[in-house]
């Protein structure tokens, strides 16, 4: 579903990603781990199409299409979703109104009729129930005055409503206490499906106790230095990222 080949990204004169190769199949959950500054978030933003990410080499193919040629909104409409590390506040814009605009932009793109207010509210209530989300959140301006935990849950909620094919969670665990973390993980687990791929970007293994990945990749200095199963994450937690430098690469 997602095929990243030799992806290179530069910021100014600095190389952030120096040849990333990664294949993600449908139904799979991949974790991207790595120390600060290793390029994890850059990779997530490159997939989503952040305008400040300058791709200087390589390719990203998504469901057979050249993702790098697509505008961010077209990627989104084709099913790429990114849960932001720092969800952005949009003052005065009602959360439900925004979500309705988003879902209808996607439906229009796929030639489907737009949802009317009734259909939309039914969908949103159902998703809010699954995620145990406080429904009053819907009537508040997008992320404005939300606590850190509420913002992250709102991201997962948007994901649930938009039902992406590929979800990229960018450090969704940062700044969450354990209860909020569990709630978010529960939401993500509810979204696991053979129809969907999920990439979890995280610094800590902690989140992966709750969202158990099929594959773990370790990113360092802009390269994937190791890939493995879920046990790789446990290993890292015990020995720290320094362990990777001490041991020669096995694969």
């Amino acid at each position: 579903m997602l095929d990243i080949k030799d992806l290179q990204v530069r910021a100014g004169t600095k190389d952030i990603l120096r040849g990333i190769n990664l294949k993600v199949g449908i139904g799979e959950v991949h974790a991207i781990m790595g120390p600060n500054g290793s390029g994890k978030s850059t990779l997530a933003r490159a997939i989503a199409g952040h305008p400040e990410i300058e791709v200087v080499g390589g390719s990203i193919t998504y469901t057979g299409k050249d993702l790098l040629e697509m505008a961010p909104e077209d990627r989104a409409r084709e099913g790429v979703f990114m849960a932001f590390q720092y969800p952005v506040e949009i003052p005065g814009v009602n959360n439900a109104y925004f979500l309705k605009a988003a879902i209808n932009a996607k439906r229009k793109h796929h030639g489907l009729p737009e949802l009317d207010a009734m259909e939309f509210m039914a969908l949103v209530r159902e998703k809010a129930n699954i995620l145990h989300l406080d429904p009053t959140l819907l009537n508040r301006p997008v992320n404005e005055g939300f606590s850190g935990g509420e913002k992250k849950r709102n991201e997962i909620f948007q994901m649930a409503v938009l039902e992406p094919k590929l979800a990229v969670l960018d450090e969704t665990d940062s700044g969450l206490d354990i209860d909020a973390l569990k709630a978010v993980a529960e939401g993500v687990n509810a979204m696991r499906s053979p129809e969907r791929a999920i990439i979890v970007v995280t610094h800590y293994q902690r989140l992966l106790n709750y969202i158990v990945p099929d594959f773990v990749h370790v990113l360092q200095d802009g390269r994937i230095v190791r890939s493995g199963g879920k046990e790789l994450a446990v290993h890292l937690e015990e020995k720290g990222y320094g362990w990777l430098e001490a041991e020669p690469q096995l694969m």
Binding site: P51, A76, F81, V88, I90, G92, A102, I103, A105, H109
Partner: protein
């Protein structure tokens, strides 16, 4: 370095939909201004002697006045001798029915979405259509007359209701008020007049639509609205002009009078031609608008959405004279490309327990400069007066500017005055966030801007709120690539 400012810079292209010119034969007075021109205008309109005298008084005052320079806008000096002060489409002296309106002019208003045929009118809005210097049609006059409402062109009011005009003309904005008001008083050519008798709630929206068409002309109209005891009226004003390379002057005066328990809601959607992206052409909009809450418990609400004009100079104000009277000002002002706006309000509290609310939203894009200027004055006798002001500025891109000048004058210790202000910027991060959810960059900006303006839009009559949202999105078109 980053592409973010570049994409925001792409905002510079915008289309002005109303820039066409109507080919219609016009009757014009020669360029320039002197007593003879004032006399000619008055004669053209077959005005009574007292009105000519009033004009001449204003003209003499104006000659001694200096153009104000305190406003935060820059423009080439206006040559007042290079303006045509009267231009009217040639038509039959008096129209028996709306069908007699020149088809070209009718087409113009159709194109603007302002049908002047009653059967086509949208949701019961009565329209007075002003084309250059004269009113060409007023709809629903008959229906309104049945409940005693007078709604007609200013010229007609001068002939048919001289006592009312004489009583209220200049009562809120005297001919000596300021440079532009004095100029208007001397040369005003037409405008709208509305009178709502005692206890009558106007059954439909009243509306005036102003269109500048002729080249080299200015538009100087006057609007006067009087709401008698317990009356209610909601009034809407819209305006457009052709795209021309020259600047054109629009100097209007609006006077509102609310007696005991009367309410006037005055909404403006100002969409004069703003000039091109380099600042060539565009309307200079120097307008004096003021309402007097003379009666107890009276209320005047100004709502304005300002998207057009090269320069906007405008401070719709309220004199809160009656006890418990209420003044409100809700404003959205947009400046894109080279546009400049210096706008705000004055709330003058004279009566006891008078209240005022000011909500101002300034949006700057391109190289636009947006200034809020507001005065709240609470007189010594205005015991228990209250004001709440909120001024928010939104910046799109990094070459525009937002400025806020609040003036507070508090004359007694029982007054409560609150002022809040904020400045924010549409961030590339906000736009990316919304695009990541599937919205186009353009829709993303519209969503953010509409969220920002929500408190003002909800004050507009329903149909016009939708209009205003659309207009705003056109006005900011291309602001983010």
């Amino acid at each position: 370095m980053s592409t973010s400012t570049d994409t925001i810079e792409e905002l510079a292209t915008r289309e002005y939909k109303y820039g066409f010119v109507t080919d219609v034969e016009a009757e014009e007075l020669p360029k320039g201004l002197n007593e003879d021109i004032v006399r000619m205008i008055s004669a053209k309109k077959k005005e009574p002697e007292w009105l000519l005298e009033w004009r001449l008084k204003a003209f003499r005052v104006w000659q001694k006045m200096k153009e104000p320079t305190w406003q935060n806008v820059k423009y080439e000096p206006i040559d007042y001798q290079d303006i045509i002060y009267y231009s009217a489409p040639k038509q039959k002296p008096s129209l028996k029915s709306l069908d007699e309106v020149d088809p070209e002019i009718r087409k113009t208003f159709d194109k603007l979405g302002i049908p002047i045929e009653e059967q086509k009118l949208f949701s019961g809005v009565a329209v007075d259509a002003v084309f250059d210097s004269v009113s060409v049609a007023t709809t629903f006059k008959k229906q309104l007359a049945e409940v005693g409402i007078i709604f007609c062109s200013f010229s007609e009011a001068v002939h048919n209701h001289p006592d009312l005009v004489k009583k209220y003309l200049g009562s809120v904005v005297p001919h000596t008020d300021n440079f532009f008001a004095a100029l208007n008083s001397a040369v005003f050519s037409d405008g709208s007049f509305a009178y709502i008798p005692k206890g009558v709630r106007c059954p439909m929206e009243l509306s005036t639509y102003f269109r500048i068409n002729a080249k080299g002309s200015g538009q100087f109209e006057r609007t006067l609205i009087v709401a008698e005891e317990g009356a209610y009226v909601s009034y809407l004003e819209g305006c457009t002009a052709p795209m021309r390379d020259e600047h054109q002057l629009h100097a209007a005066v609006v006077e509102l009078v609310a007696l005991d328990n009367a309410t006037i809601k005055y909404s403006t959607i100002q969409n004069w031609y703003p000039g091109d992206k380099d600042g060539k052409g565009g309307i200079y909009n120097f307008v004096t608008k003021r309402g007097a809450c003379i009666g107890v418990n009276s209320k005047i609400t100004w709502t304005q959405v300002e998207t057009g004009s090269a320069i906007t100079w405008k401070y719709p104000s309220c004199i809160l004279q009656g006890d418990n009277s209420v003044g409100e000002f809700y404003s959205v002002a947009t400046t894109n490309n080279m546009q400049q706006a210096d706008t705000g309000t004055k709330m003058v509290h004279l009566g006891k327990n008078t209240r005022s609310t000011i909500v101002s939203k300034g949006i700057s894009a391109g190289r636009g400069q947006n200034t809020y200027r507001g005065q709240v004055r609470i007189a010594k006798k205005a015991i228990g007066a209250r004001n709440y002001s909120q001024c928010d500025s939104l910046l799109i891109g990094d070459k525009c500017g937002a400025h806020t000048f609040p003036y507070l004058e508090i004359g007694n210790a029982t007054a409560k005055v609150e002022h809040e202000a904020s400045t924010s910027k549409i961030g590339e991060d906000q736009i990316f966030y919304l695009r990541q959810r599937g919205l186009s960059a353009e829709d993303a900006v519209n969503l953010i801007v509409n969220g920002f303006c929500k408190e003002v839009f909800r004050e507009l009559p329903m149909e016009f709120a939708v209009e205003a949202q659309k207009l705003l999105s056109v006005s900011l078109e291309g602001s983010v690539g």
